[in-house]
């Protein structure tokens, strides 16, 4: 809910007059501002030390930690599936078509009676709400929160996921998120168990090498995909209306 409100506030103040690319910049700046405000103002949200949230997960708190973790996986999975189906409702029907039209040419969209400002507000609100939901899940999982837990680079990782999966379609983004978020960002932890890398790490005398490798892989992936396959793993699908023509 708070996500939606913040999204709409940002949209009303600035985005009414901005083009899409500048909107994205405005959003990034606002996120930086939010982080700065929190870390500068200690009494408000305890600055960089963050907040600790005690009741981690009431229904399962008496369970074994292992069970708790798997229960959490389940909850996240359900939330993702729910979000996916809800968002399909937005993107798959006439409303999604309207949004894609606006993306292509907002002047022409206005010429056919679309209220572009209202549409952007709606998108902003929905995006903000889902952003807020995922933030809430993250906070519940690490049972604490501080601005340093989520920096620029995490935002970039999400962008990579969208580019690799394929922009403009839900399936692509979901797959991209799975690949980048789970396989690469989390997968690097297990590289520590690879003896050769372990040896390399002590040879160059640099701890955390495998962790950094994850970021290197991410950056490379972004470049490779933009260069070789800008449409992503799953390109946007061409909609058909089931007629005699093909």
């Amino acid at each position: 809910m708070a996500g939606a409100v913040v999204g709409v506030l940002i949209a009303i103040t600035g985005l009414k007059r901005l083009r899409q690319d500048y909107q994205a910049m405005a959003m990034l700046v606002v996120s930086l501002m939010a982080a700065t405000v929190v870390s500068a103002d200690t009494p408000f949200l305890n600055g960089n030390a963050g907040l600790v949230i005690f009741p981690s997960f009431a229904p399962f708190s008496d369970q074994d930690p292992e069970v708790q973790r798997w229960a959490f996986v389940g909850i996240v999975f359900v939330a993702c599936a729910g979000a996916y189906f809800l968002l399909r409702r937005f993107t798959a029907g006439p409303f999604g078509r309207t949004l894609r039209a606006m993306r292509d040419d907002d002047l022409a969209a206005q010429a056919i009676g679309k209220d572009v400002v209202r549409l952007r507000l709606a998108v902003q609100a929905v995006g903000g709400a889902f952003g807020g939901l995922s933030g809430a899940l993250l906070v519940a999982f690490i049972s604490g929160w501080s601005p340093s837990a989520w920096a620029y680079i995490e935002t970039l990782a999400l962008l990579t996921a969208v580019i690799v999966g394929g922009m403009g379609n839900d399936r692509g983004v979901a797959v991209g998120m799975f690949l980048i978020g789970i396989l690469i960002l989390q997968g690097v932890q297990f590289l520590n168990d690879v003896p050769a890398l372990k040896a390399l790490e002590s040879y160059v005398n640099r701890t955390g090498l495998t962790h950094d490798l994850g970021w290197i892989v991410l950056g490379t992936l972004t470049i490779v995909f933009i260069w070789l396959r800008p449409q992503g793993i799953f390109p946007e699908r061409r909609p058909r209306y089931g007629g005699q023509t093909s």
Partner: protein, 256 residues
């Protein structure tokens, strides 16, 4: 005078300036219901600016625009479009990443699938309307001879086809008045003949059109009344054939 008798569009003393330049300077004219009215004039006469002000893209410095009996001066473009005053652009603006038929469907007015309920309720709420719109769009495509381009991305269409898509898209909105900004620019002679016939047919069916056009032959063939602008003002008004003989019009075109 009842609304039904009034002209579909009444423009009074319209003015618009860009800084110190008076692009449109006290322009008045009317478009009668069911007519094709031409708006011509040399480059820089203010035709496109006038059209942009009428269509709601620019707001006027002075004057009024009365559409279908209602004062709509300064209303934004999307609201005018919903009222039935729909424009096209000088350079056809299609939605390139939508297919041809999607370009038409997206213009369907007050589609239930665009509403909040429609989004949440899904197909069973808007499916019927969508089927009707698809049928309507296919009819239009057939009448423009573009049935075989239905599933092509609009960005891959030829210039003339893009223009046709823009016109069909406007027609999907069931407009009362169509503002056309140089619809023939860049079309082959045979294509523009086809489009002329289409406009004549639409006007016979009751649609009113206001046409900004450089090709005077086209104007002569399809327009009833023609308004001549020069240097931001209305210079003359009448049928094309008689305008050709008028001194001030000839002068404007030579000097302009």
């Amino acid at each position: 005078m009842t609304v039904a008798q009034r002209p579909i569009l009444e423009v009074k003393n319209l003015a618009k300036n860009y800084g110190g330049v008076q692009a449109v300077d006290g322009v008045s004219f009317t478009v009668e219901r069911g007519s094709i009215t031409g708006l011509i004039g040399p480059n820089g006469a203010g035709k496109s600016t006038a059209l942009n002000v009428i269509g709601g893209l620019l707001s006027p410095a002075a004057g009024s625009v009365v559409f279908d009996g209602v004062d709509v001066t300064g209303q934004p473009m999307h609201r005018l479009a919903r009222r039935g005053l729909v424009r096209t652009f000088q350079l056809a603006r299609v939605f390139g990443n939508l297919t041809t038929i999607e370009n038409l469907l997206v213009a369907a007015p007050s589609h239930r699938g665009d509403s909040a309920i429609g989004i949440l309720a899904g197909k069973r709420y808007w499916g019927d309307q969508e089927r009707q719109m698809v049928a309507q769009a296919r009819e239009l495509l057939a009448s423009f001879g573009m049935t075989d381009r239905e599933d092509e991305y609009a960005r891959n269409l030829s210039g003339g086809q893009k223009r046709a898509v823009e016109t069909m898209r406007a027609l999907m909105m069931k407009p009362k008045l169509l503002l056309l900004d140089e619809p023939m620019a860049g079309l082959s002679p045979s294509l523009s003949r086809q489009l002329e016939d289409m406009f004549l047919k639409l006007s016979a069916d009751g649609l009113s059109l206001l046409l900004v056009e450089h090709g005077l032959d086209t104007v002569e063939r399809i327009c009833g009344k023609v308004v001549v602008m020069a240097q931001g003002k209305v210079l003359s008004e009448g049928r094309m054939a008689e305008l050709r003989t008028r001194r001030e019009v000839q002068d404007a075109y030579v000097i302009g």
